[in-house]
């Protein structure tokens, strides 16, 4: 009786007699049942959803049978098999009951066999309904799952569409860009080619074809060394290609075949995952530049040679000149020649003469203070002053440095002294441009006792030294006491 025991039956009948009979019959057949006496209690019990079969009277206080049927059918309650109990057998009433939602009828007085048959039929329907509900629930769950999966698919489809569109756009741009780069590569005014990691040429632009006389279809797939010739493609260039093809960020090499010079630049090419796939090489023709550099070097060398020649010529010129380059008056060499000549004249009974050595006072200090150009200026001024302040027969020369010599001819010491004093005064009277310039003067007379011009110069020098010692800006004549010891005082 498990079919029966799995069902709970509610009996709604206000007639205690017939409900007792019914309840007893249900219990006897193993059904679990409950009896209520009116329609309201019946609806309250049924609406808990815990009764699978309702056996209800037609007329009851509170709610009548058809109304309970209607309420159950209009509710969301699980399936309930409704049997209407009625004493009536009128067809019209039965139609009303069916319309209200009843499933079957039992006529009073109760026939137990009829009851059992109807309960079996009702139980089967309840079980079928339960199964149907279970299947429905499973179907609903599956439908929900399908909807979820479908939604996910729709989302994925949309994402895929977006990705696809982006890819198409990227591919379009990549096509354009590839096309542009290939045009750029082809149109570059530089010989340009690429090599793979296998060292073979993959691309070879028009300029390379023109410059090296090898069309692309003959160049591609061969080694650059075969195409360019080993004499052109030296070790440096081979290293450049290899370095670039091994991924060095930048490689540069120089090569030439004697007539043409190229500067090679190599850049590695990378694949999509960053691996090195080869290198692109470009060659810049630097022949004109190299030739210009060589020409310039040649010209520089010529200029250097000319300069050296000029230097030695100048030296030679200076050595054979008689005038001092700076002051324009006779130089040291001319002075010595003149002294020798004048001395010879004196030896042969000619006139006496005095040698005056004049030295600019504090000249080194002046140079240090005002510079050598100012010093040169002073020397020129002194030379000019001395020349102007002497007689026509006298001879003024630059002895060296800031020292001048004057040969006072046809003069003994007492005649020479005022002449020398005049020279000193003339210099002292010069308008001072930087500072007042003075000279110290030493005098020595050449006589039979003097002997040589060298001795004469020594004596004049000693006298000059004495003038310096005497406080400068003065004239001193040589006396035997001075001797010929050398002493220097600027």
């Amino acid at each position: 009786m498990d079919q029966a025991s799995s069902l709970r039956i509610l009996v709604a009948d206000d007639d205690p007699v017939s409900s007792r009979v019914l309840a007893r019959a249900l219990t006897n057949h193993g059904y679990d049942s409950k009896v209520v006496q009116d329609g309201i209690a019946a609806w309250e019990a049924v609406s808990t959803g815990s009764y699978q079969i309702l056996i209800t009277d037609w007329m009851m206080p509170g709610l009548e049978g058809p109304e309970i049927c209607r309420r159950i059918r209009n509710s969301e309650l699980p399936f309930c098999y409704i049997i209407v109990l009625t004493a009536k057998s009128a067809k019209e009433d039965k139609m009303n009951a069916i319309r209200a939602g009843a499933d079957d009828f039992l006529t009073k007085p109760l026939n137990e066999a009829d009851l059992v048959v109807r309960l079996l039929a009702g139980g089967r329907l309840v079980r079928l309904n339960r199964e149907l509900q279970r299947i429905n629930a499973v179907l609903a769950a599956q439908r929900a799952e399908l909807a979820t999966v479908n939604n996910r698919l729709i989302v994925q489809q949309e994402e895929l569409n977006i990705t696809l569109k982006r890819l198409e756009e990227a591919s379009r741009i990549a096509d354009i860009s590839r096309n542009r780069f290939s045009q750029l590569f082809e149109g570059l005014p530089l010989p340009c080619f690429t090599v793979g990691t296998d060292g073979l040429v993959y691309e070879w632009n028009e300029e390379a074809a023109t410059r090296f006389g090898v069309p692309p279809h003959l160049a591609i797939g061969r080694r650059p060394a075969e195409l360019l010739g080993n004499d052109l493609l030296g070790d440096d260039a081979v290293r450049c290609i290899e370095a670039a093809a091994q991924g060095m960020a930048f490689a540069q090499g120089d090569w030439n075949d004697g007539d043409q010079y190229f500067l090679a630049g190599g850049y590695p090419l990378f694949g999509s995952s960053g691996q090195v796939t080869g290198a692109i090489l470009s060659l810049v023709d630097v022949t004109a530049q190299r030739q210009a550099e060589a020409k310039l070097e040649e010209q520089l060398r010529t200029i250097n040679e000319l300069y050296e020649k000029l230097q030695s010529a100048n030296q030679r010129l200076a050595s054979i000149a008689s005038l001092d380059g700076l002051t324009g008056i006779p130089n040291h060499r001319t002075l010595l020649e003149r002294l020798t000549a004048v001395a010879e004249v004196f030896e042969q009974g000619g006139e006496p003469f005095v040698l005056a050595l004049a030295d600019v006072d504090h000249f080194k200090k002046f140079n240090d203070e005002f510079g050598h150009l100012a010093g040169d200026e002073v020397l020129k001024q002194v030379a000019e002053t001395l020349s102007n302040a002497t007689r026509g027969s006298d001879f003024v020369a630059r002895y060296g440095g800031e020292e001048f010599a004057v040969i006072l001819r046809n003069a003994t010491m007492d005649r020479a002294h005022p002449l020398a004093e005049r020279l000193r005064a003339a210099v002292e009277a010069l308008p001072p441009k930087y500072r007042q310039v003075t000279i110290s003067v030493g005098l020595a007379e050449f006589d039979s006792e003097t002997g040589t011009t060298t001795e004469l110069i020594r004596r004049a020098d000693a006298a000059l030294y004495a003038a310096k010692n005497a406080g400068r800006n003065c004239v001193r004549a040589w006396t035997p006491e001075l001797g010929t010891q050398q002493g220097k005082a600027a």
């Binding site: 007639d15 205690p16 017939s18 007792r20 109760l110 137990e112």
Partner: protein, 113 residues
């Protein structure tokens, strides 16, 4: 014989104590409905009359009180039509039938006890 005792025997599976219980239940119910019917006639309440007659018909049918059942059915029909003239005649027959049935049942109950 106002009661079909065979029917009662059948529906109770010859369970004597249930029969007694059922008969006593019926007697109480029938007396109460008889009073309601009288009140309804007096008050000329067709609806109350019909309800009471209908209930009595069902209860009578359940215990096999065949004549009472028939009388109640007749009254039920009259009340449904609000036919108080017919109902007055039928109420007399019903009350007679009710008294006879109750008497028979009480006698039976005494015997059974």
């Amino acid at each position: 014989m106002y009661v079909d005792w065979g029917f009662l025997q059948e529906i109770t599976d010859a369970d004597a104590s249930f029969q007694v219980e059922l008969v006593q239940e019926f007697c109480g119910q029938a007396e109460m409905l008889g009073e309601r019917i009288k009140d309804a006639i007096e008050a000329k309440d067709a609806d109350a009359l019909q309800r009471a007659a209908h209930s009595l018909k069902g209860s009578a049918a359940s215990v096999g009180a065949i004549y009472l059942c028939e009388a109640a059915a007749n009254l039920d029909e009259s009340a449904r039509r609000a036919d108080f003239d017919g109902a007055g005649e039928r109420v007399g027959a019903l009350l007679d039938s009710l008294n006879a049935t109750l008497n028979e049942m009480r006698a039976w109950t005494k015997r059974a006890a």
